[in-house]
Each structure stands twice: as C-alpha cells, then as structure tokens.
Amino acid sequence: MLQKLHTSGLALMIVAGFAAQPALAEAPNQILDSIQTAAKNTPGFKGFSAARGESFFKAKQANGLSCASCHTDNPAAPGKHEKTGKAIEPLAPSANAQRFADPAKVEKWFKRNCNDVLARVCTPQEQGDVLSYLLTIKN
C-alpha cells in the first residue's frame, strides 16, 4: 500500500512539473516589457539605461553589500553566496538560459536580494536598468 501511495505521488509530481514548464517559460525581453509597463506609471519615466543598471549593480551600500557581492562584477561568470559560500549560476541570460525565464522567480529574487542589499524593494526603474545591463553582457 505504501509503495502504491509513493508511486502515484511521484507520478503526480512529474505531471505537475511538466505541465508547469511551458506556461512559465518566457524570454528575458518579455520580462523587461512587463517591468517597463510597471515603470511607465512613474512620473518622469524616460526609459531604462544599461549604464545606470551597471553602476547600481556594482554600488556598495552602507552595509557593505552590492549585487556584485554574490553575483560578482562579471555576471556572465558563476557567483558565490557571500555568506554561505554556495556557488551561484551566472546571472546574465547570455551565459545562463534559465535566467529571466520565470516571472515569479524573478520577482521573488528581486524582492529578497534588494531587501538584503538596500533594505527596501527595488523600483521598476532599478529593475529595468539592471536587466537592461544584464542583457548587454555577451558571454
């Protein structure tokens, strides 16, 4: 009986996994578009800047942290969690096709990482600048 329960549970998980994949897959540009839609609502929005994104990414905050603390100064290279030392796959989409493909994942990590680095969420402007920067990086 236990065996049966386990097997059907596994089958369910596999089915759910497959079903979820295609619906989630999106191109980084589509994600940039939806960030832009959000940014347009802010007064004075004049588009995204990769250069501003790069300085934001590398700027050390008062707590000594920057995005580069874990993702390194070269987002096409593997990173390393500054506290635990765990390896982090490259962040630039050119080096890692899994990046910026799942809107929910992107939203989750922008929230977490911005809270860690800036002690607040990132604005749509900042998110769009960072993604624009990451999209200019060639592997």
Partner: protein
C-alpha cells in the same frame, strides 16, 4: 491541534515501515551510546532515526537549496521548523521569504518528517545548537583546526565534510574532512 488522527496514524505506519525497511548499513549506530537521562539520549535533543525520507518534496528541494544545501528535515524537531518557516523574511540576516502557498507546502513536509526522537521541550533554530550535533562534532570527532579551515567556514556548511549531505546522507563512510 488540528492534526487528524488518521494523518497521525498514517504517519506512524509510514515511519514504522521505513525503519523496518532501512538497510542495516544505514541504521543508526547510536543506540548503544549515551546514558539515558530523564529525556533520553542527548537530553532529548536527538535527530530523527532517519533524517531524510526517500521521497522528498520538490518545492522544499528547490527553494531551500538556493543559498545552502537543503537541510534534511529529521535534523531538527517539528517546532524548530515551524519557527524557521515563520521567520523567513528575516532568515539569518537574509530575506528568504516565500509565497504563503509555498510556505505552507514546505512547512508541512518539514513538520511531517521532523525528528521522531526529539523529546526535549526545546526548539533551536540552528542544527549546530542541538545536543546531538555538539556531541557528534566535539573536539574528539572534529579537531579545532578543522573548524578554522576556510573550506569549512561555518558548522552549517555540512557538505564541507559530509560529501553526500545534499542527499541527507551523513554516514561515516561519506565523511571527508578538508585539510
């Protein structure tokens, strides 16, 4: 508590079945060690007989392994997991928050597979604070110099020594201490 009887007895049967089917090599070597105190071994702060079930929850595996290895549920008691999962937005100095739905699913998995040998009323947030951990990693087992090795960094860095930690395997044959 809203845990139904059915669920509890199902769990008990599952746990019994697992322990019966556990290969001898994996069985715990602790049973002959330690003197029984009021609470049992390690003052009641013992890890589960089996720390990781054969079938793990996929969300737990994915979400709890992005910053460190996914720590096996049986390393801590249920109450510890409830505390950890209740404070993910301020998790050891980092924001590890989840959606309410993800949180519920992962909490259920952790609580249902938490240590089944923990009898003390304590609920530490860190594995390295538990009595079983301290005993298993005292200066006889792990020389002080090893903890200072930069490859180890933190006691929470289990896989620095336990090469199969990610699979919930902490058996002695898979220990390789960095030097």
């Amino acid at each position: 508590m809203s845990l139904s009887h059915k669920k509890l007895s199902g769990l008990a049967i599952a746990m019994l079945a697992m322990s019966l089917s556990m290969p001898a090599a994996q069985a715990d070597d602790d049973d002959n060690e330690g003197r029984g105190s009021r609470h049992g071994k390690y003052g009641g702060e013992d890890r589960g007989r089996q720390v990781q079930p054969a079938q793990v929850n996929a969300k737990w595996q994915k979400e709890c392994s992005s910053c460190h290895i996914a720590y096996a549920p049986g390393l801590l008691p249920a109450e510890s997991w409830r505390k950890v999962m209740g404070g993910l937005n301020k998790h050891f100095g980092t924001d590890a928050s989840l959606t309410a739905q993800e949180n519920q699913e992962i909490t259920d998995f952790l609580v249902n597979n938490a240590s089944n040998r923990w009898t003390a009323p304590t609920a530490p947030l860190q594995i390295s604070e538990t009595a079983w951990f301290k005993r298993k990693h005292d200066s006889h087992e792990v020389p002080a110099a090893v903890w200072k090795n930069p490859l180890v960094k933190s006691p929470a860095n289990c896989q620095a020594c336990h090469t199969q930690a990610e699979r919930g395997d902490f058996s002695e044959r898979n220990i390789k201490m960095p030097r």
